[in-house]
Amino acid sequence: MIAPAVEVQHLRKVYGSGHTEVVAIRDASLSIARGEIVGMFGPSGSGKSTILTAMALINPPTTGKIEIGGKLVLDGPKALVDLRAFRRQHLGFVFQKANLIPFLSALENVQIALEVNDTAPKAARKRAMELLDYLGVGARAHNLPVALSGGEQQRVAVARALANEPSLILADEPTAALDSQRGRQVMELFAKVAHERNAGVLVVTHDHRTLDVFDRIVDVEDGMIRVREKVA
């Protein structure tokens, strides 16, 4: 049996302490298979971003286990691997905004992700160009992020997320800054990546018009995850 892209068990996250204490995640468990795209919905403040950043290994949970590709990575706040190395080898990220480094061109933003993962500069450049072409922004490769539209920026961010062929891609409201048509294009792209490149993809979104692109949908409510049947 192939290990799931990610599996979280009994995640709990408490911010602050004493009377400023906020329980952001009460008890969340979720598994995402490789080749599967999962949409995560839920009201504001329900804990979606907290779950996603915990999986992204940049916001360790208070208790609970996170396994990525079958490997136990976080046991509570305790890291069992070099998290930064693990991120560059196995994870890809897309966020709502501020995804790109402003002083690097579109191409370089993708290239840097490859280079930090020890790809030689020439090969990195070639692959970055292929990815931008794949996402339809090859023509804008040499522009700085400020010169790109929101949708183009997001597609460059997706290209960067794909660069190292990650087993898990995490996206937090990646289409919030886009019009519905552009938003849909990006969502379809994620589905394509999940299916064609065999990655597990988790997308947090508020956009109910894109429900149909997901293989599975989960709802977060008050720090708990509830799996919903597909409503296609």
């Binding site: 971003s49 950043t53 992204a56 940049i58 916001n59 930064r84 190395a85 693990f86 991120r87 560059r88 080898q89 990220f93 966020f95 905004k97 501020a98 995804n99 480094i101 402003p102 002083f103 690097l104 370089e108 290239q111 840097i112 992700a113 280079e115 930090v116 993962n117 500069p121 990195a124 700085l144 960067r160 937090d172």
Partner: protein
């Protein structure tokens, strides 16, 4: 891919401004080092150029550059009689400040032992050496006295017949060369009234004692020119310069001279050491202190600007960490920017210095060894300056990228 250069290109205005500031500071640091070298060069120039093997100066003094040294001119002949001595010359040197054509003229008056020494050893850039026993002079270009110009010093006029370049005394004043007797005439020039008073005083002293009353002729001599009175010594000189035979035993000559109680002997090297330890030492420490302060200021400025540049891109750094960049990449980005700033500043300092140093009032000598050591210092301070920024960058959490 080099992140440092790309970020600098993005922030080129701020980077350029700071670099210019650093460059100017480093130029001053470089210039101060050059001024110090210039001081040494100028201080020892004369001692080097006159090329004596030994300096005979007044007993128990450190020579004419340290204090007043007065020895009898006849010492020239005494020294010449010592076996192994090829040549001896009188050395007369004093600084005067006069007014010429409405501007102050400060110069070192240097006497040449005419007729043995006409100044052929002086490197002339124009004109000729001295050609007659009186009323000619060689002047340094820094005094701005054209060839053929006649300058009135004391009662006589002297014509500029030759030019030197960069020949200055220990305090940077231009050198002029005269025959010894002219130099002394300039030094001991006294107004006619003073001469008359001196003669009257001599006569009065003589009238007060028995021999004066018994020998009226003496009274006439006393009231005459001092050079015609055998009992009065000729004007004294500052030092006597000794040149040895090529095959003479320097130590033996020196040992002989050392037994003479009325004089002290220095080798050229000793004379130079005295000059440097006495005159240049304080200036060196002063300049050194300023250089250290300026280097500290440069370090602080580089550190602050690198720190602000780092703060400005703290989210980008967090993003780099998020996508897994190693600390080496992030630290390298900041260190390289700091080094680039130092390197550009240094290059700028050198470039500006090339144009400005020649116009400094005193000689600035920039030596390769000093350039190399300053380059090394810039390397060190740029590295130090980056530490604050690196510390900030390495301590930022990758999830900072999410908090907008």
């Amino acid at each position: 891919m080099n992140l440092a250069v790309r970020d600098i290109r993005h922030n080129s205005g701020r980077f350029a401004f700071t670099t210019v500031g650093i460059g100017l500071l480093l130029m001053i640091v470089m210039g101060m080092g050059g001024i110090y070298r210039g001081l040494i060069y100028e201080a020892t120039l004369l001692v080097d150029r006159v090329g004596a093997d030994l300096w005979v100066v007044q007993g128990h003094t450190r020579g004419p550059f340290a204090e007043v040294s007065r020895i009898s001119a006849s010492l020239e002949d005494r020294v010449r009689a010592v076996p192994g001595v090829a040549q001896s010359r009188r050395f007369v040197s004093h600084t005067i400040q006069r007014v010429h054509q409405g501007r102050p003229l400060r110069m070192v008056v240097q006497g040449l032992s005419w007729p043995e020494d006409r100044g052929e050893w002086i490197p002339l850039v124009a004109g000729r050496a001295l050609g007659q026993a009186h009323y000619e002079m060689i002047a340094d270009l820094s005094l701005r006295l054209p060839l053929g110009e006649k300058i009135k010093l004391g009662r006589d006029e002297y014509e500029v017949v030759g030019h030197t370049r960069g020949m200055v005394g220990t305090s940077g004043d231009g050198l002029t060369f005269f025959t010894v007797s002219d130099a002394q005439a300039i030094q001991f020039d006294v107004p006619g009234e003073a001469v008359r008073l001196e003669r009257a005083a001599r006569r009065a002293r003589l009238e007060g004692i028995e021999i004066g009353r018994l020998q009226p002729l003496l009274l006439d001599r006393a009231a005459g020119p001092s050079s015609s009175i055998p009992a009065l010594s000729r004007p004294q000189v500052s030092a006597v310069l000794v040149t040895l035979h090529p095959d003479a035993d320097a130590a033996a000559v020196r040992a002989t001279l050392d037994t003479w109680p009325d004089i002290t002997v220095f080798s050229t090297q000793e004379q130079k050491d005295l000059l440097l330890s006495g005159m240049v030492d304080k200036a060196k420490r002063q300049l050194g202190l300023f250089r250290v302060l300026l280097i500290i200021i440069s370090t602080i400025i580089i550190a602050l600007i690198i720190y602000t540049l780092t703060l400005d891109k703290i989210r980008d750094i967090a993003l780099l960490k998020l996508i897994g960049a190693r600390n080496r990449v992030i630290g390298g980005l900041i260190l390289q920017q700091s080094l680039l700033m130092g390197a550009f500043g240094y290059a700028l300092a050198w470039g500006i210095g090339q144009f400005t140093f020649p116009h400094f009032p005193r000689l600035v000598v920039v030596e390769l060894a000093d350039l190399i050591s300053l380059g090394f210092i810039v390397l060190v301070i740029s590295t130090l300056a980056s530490l604050l920024g690196i510390w900030k960058a390495l301590s930022v959490e990758p999830n900072t990228v999410l908090s907008a």
